[in-house]
Amino acid sequence: MARNDMTTTERRDVGQEAPRQEVSERDRLFVQPAVDILEDAEGITLYADLPGVNVEGLDVRVEGETLFLSGTSNLALPQGAQPVYAEQRSLAFRRRFSLSGDLDASNIEAKLANGVLKVRIPKTPAAQPRRIEVRPG
């Protein structure tokens, strides 16, 4: 799975000279995917809309306490096609989320179906509710 560099391409100080090396157009502009985030007793489930992205174009990563999502569609229109209207400004998606310490980042599960990514992040055992058995005394 390709590692996308999330930190260097998205921000550049104003006035700073652009680097000489070619930056692929695809990496320059990206949009934040819409997400739903649900929490239940055992963990958090995140759904992200990534239309056009398949497993090969998807990267889900945790670094420290940050969850990174990035995905790129491999759709290619014919060379001569002229864009005349675009509500979707980019086919490259990126977004990052801070993970709370209650979450177990080592047990993340991700599934991608029909352009929707589902990420399941369990809570650490200590953060999960524990039912205490009450015995008649």
């Binding site: 695809r26 990534l50 239309p51 056009g52 398949n54 005349v84 509500e87 352009g115």
Partner: protein, 146 residues
């Protein structure tokens, strides 16, 4: 490649007045008509033109192709469908809800020279690609001056 196509200009919309006829009846959650907007709706739409074809891209993640109703009448393309809201079972707290859901209808007026008999649509990974052929008669023809 797509960014080269769509990343730069912001005023394209103004330049193509056939698109200004686009009617958006977007989400009508709870039966309340959405405000008409010229901007993004759901599914988001991109359009690109070739000499012999119009390409329409619909960004419809999580919607089965079978659940999408795509039709064309003359040069008016209509897409109808529904995306189910995420179920939040008992004991679940929804912290963020950005993903649109509900019924949608999007209507696009395509260039006048499209041939409604020759339309192809394919769906992959929540992206629907519709290709409409344009009539040859409507293409520019060079006239020889003697």
């Amino acid at each position: 490649m797509w960014n080269t196509l769509f990343g730069e200009s912001t005023s394209l919309f103004d330049e193509f007045n056939w698109l200004s006829r686009e009617m958006d009846r977007l989400f009508e959650p709870m039966g309340i008509p959405a405000l008409r907007t010229a901007g993004a709706g759901f599914p988001a739409v991109n359009v690109a033109l070739e000499e012999d074809k119009v390409h329409v891209l619909l960004f419809a993640p999580g919607i089965d192709a079978a659940a999408l109703d795509v039709s064309i009448l003359g040069n008016v393309l209509t897409v109808k469908g529904r995306r189910e809201a995420l179920e939040a079972p008992e004991g679940t707290q929804a912290w963020v809800r950005e993903r649109p859901s509900g019924r949608f209808v999007r209507t696009l007026t395509l260039p006048d020279d499209v041939d409604p008999q020759r339309v192809e649509a394919q769906s992959r990974d929540g992206l629907v690609w519709i290709q409409v052929q344009r009539n040859e008669q409507a293409r520019p023809r060079r006239i020889q001056v003697h």
